[in-house]
């Protein structure tokens, strides 16, 4: 503890010192550098460069939507960042935490999620999520992305880009669930489950919040998917964990992580990728995106520290897995709030999120008695719920201007409404899907296969 404080103090002193030195350096430079006057001769033949970006953003203020290349460029990048969060971010994060005999199968869950959901999304998912329809579900007008050309716009970006940006969210939501079912689910059953779940659970809930459905209309605040992605997947994971049953030997045999270096690599990719997740959800290359990056960073940092401190106090040592988990907890908690809170709000949310999610994967997990192997509910479910509720408290006029909720109690109720609706729908539908699968093809592997390890039994492969 003393060493940690000493290190922290030393690094702050060094950082503070270097910042001061840098400032001094620039202050010293100015009076000494000779003032040079540069004149450019503009000849009549030199064309005056036309700045198209600022013109189009002026035009965008008018009713007709116009493509903004800056916005489009940023969302193109964000799409790639969010896909990276799943492959290989989440794949590595989870894989490092399982036993070696199941490492490939755990990575396969994330990898195949990218494959399966890509197809279901363009086939019918996007249409159900974002198509015009009713308060609960979109219609089928955009099945196979019908009617969306290269020119079609969604706001200031091409709609086709919006399609794939949202696709990466659907992919990671499904991949998160794999954390709860690790080390004992049949691969075929998992593939079938995610194909159905992405259409029947993810798309409707997306529609409710972002696609013009009832929750969004009620005023629920969910900037980047705290409800749609995290509560949704966390609850589905918990239900799946109950239905699959506990891993053989839990409590008696060692289920210790086989390689936490993978987990740290994965957590790092998740952290950086989250800039696309939250920053991209601003759907523009602007200050809102920039601020979203800052609050995301601050929440992740704060939660990492609060988790580490909590763990040190409660367990005696601050673990590396704890640091990585704390960062993810902070990122989850800030997700619904990333476009609505100030940096101070993010700091508070991160500190709270780190502690509450620590409780979520220790005491709460013991109470729930499900074998949520990699804590999809403890981190994503609990974190999403905390984030959704705290968003009501920390939503700030400074950031939101006139759009800020005026009545705290009403907003709090709307946030809770979103939480409850998502929990209920996700839990019930996940249960039904898994029940049907279990009755037809079976969802849990045979005990010999579980003993042998899923890499061998499901995939015929081994990592030595």
């Amino acid at each position: 503890m003393k060493k940690a404080l000493l290190a922290f103090g030393l690094s702050s002193a060094l950082l503070g010192g270097s910042a001061a030195w840098a400032q001094e350096a620039t202050a010293v430079d100015a009076p000494n550098s000779p003032v040079t006057v540069v004149t450019t001769q503009t000849t009549p033949s030199d064309p005056i460069p036309v700045v198209t970006e600022s013109m189009s953003s002026v035009e965008a203020a008018e009713p007709e939507a116009v493509l903004d290349t800056g916005d489009t460029a940023w969302i193109l990048i964000s799409t790639a960042l969010v896909l990276l969060m799943t492959i290989p971010g989440l794949a590595l994060f989870y894989a490092g935490m399982v036993r070696k005999k199941n490492v490939l199968s755990t990575m396969a869950h994330s990898f195949v999620a990218a494959a399966v959901v890509s197809i279901t999304w363009i086939a019918v998912g996007y249409s159900l999520a974002f198509g015009d329809g009713n308060a609960f579900i979109g219609n089928l007008d955009k099945v196979m992305l019908a009617g969306i050309t290269t020119e079609t716009l969604s706001g200031s970006i091409p709609e086709i880009l919006f399609v794939i940006f949202q696709m990466t969210f659907a992919i990671i939501t499904v991949a998160i669930i794999s954390g709860s079912i690790a080390e004992r689910m049949k691969f075929g059953a998992f593939v079938a489950f995610i194909a159905i779940w992405s259409v029947v659970v993810y798309a409707p809930i997306t529609h409710w919040v972002w696609g013009g459905g009832w929750l969004g209309n009620d005023g629920a605040l969910d900037f980047a998917g705290g409800t749609v992605v995290h509560i949704n997947s966390g609850v589905a994971g918990l239900v799946a964990a109950y239905m699959l049953g506990k891993r053989m030997g839990l409590g008696r045999e060692s289920m210790a992580p086989h390689n936490l270096t993978l987990t740290v690599l994965g957590a790092s990719l998740l952290w950086v990728g989250w800039f696309g997740f939250n920053g991209g959800s601003a759907l523009g290359a602007n200050g809102s995106a920039g601020y979203a990056l800052v609050v995301t960073q601050v929440a992740a940092a704060a939660a990492t520290l609060s988790w580490l401190v909590t763990e040190k106090i409660v367990r005696g040592k601050a673990s590396v897995l704890g640091g990585a988990s704390g960062a993810v907890a902070g990122l989850v908690v800030i997700t619904p709030a990333a476009g609505f809170v100030t940096v101070g709000g993010a700091l508070s949310m991160g500190l709270i999120g780190g502690v509450v999610c620590f409780w979520g994967i220790t005491a709460l997990k013991r109470m729930l008695k499900a074998d949520d192997s990699l804590d999809a509910f403890g981190l994503h479910g609990v974190g999403g719920i905390v984030g959704a509720i705290l968003t009501a408290f920390f939503a700030s006029e400074f950031i939101m201007g006139d759009a800020v909720p005026t009545n705290l109690m009403h907003q709090l109720w709307v946030q809770v409404e979103g939480v409850l609706a998502t929990v209920a729908y996700s839990a019930v539908l996940t249960f039904i899907i898994l029940k049907v699968l279990d009755m037809t093809i079976g969802i849990r592997v045979a005990s010999d296969d579980e003993r042998m390890g899923l890499d061998l039994s499901q995939h015929g492969e081994r990592v030595d």
Partner: protein
Amino acid sequence: MKLVTAIVKPFKLDDVREALSEIGVQGITVTEVKGFGRQKGHTELYRGAEYVVDFLPKVKIEIAISDEMVEPVIESITRVASTGKIGDGKIFVTNLEQVIRIRTGETGADAV
């Protein structure tokens, strides 16, 4: 002929190897093993779960030697592998019925 099996702490392997070569032992076989005697293990924490790890990593050294060499070998190993703390290990001496050198077919004392 005897088979001397020594279980020692892993970081002592190099010292033992040098000491043995100083007294003329020409070949050894080394295996990484786990075990415990009176030395306590440690506790590992991973999120919500605590694991007590009883097994400690050790190194097993097997030496096939002639009867006259047994005492010098035991003395060398005991001297260099000892730290004075619990967990230093043990030495087992067993009879070797037969030894064959694969390349030449030599047997018995010629093969050791």
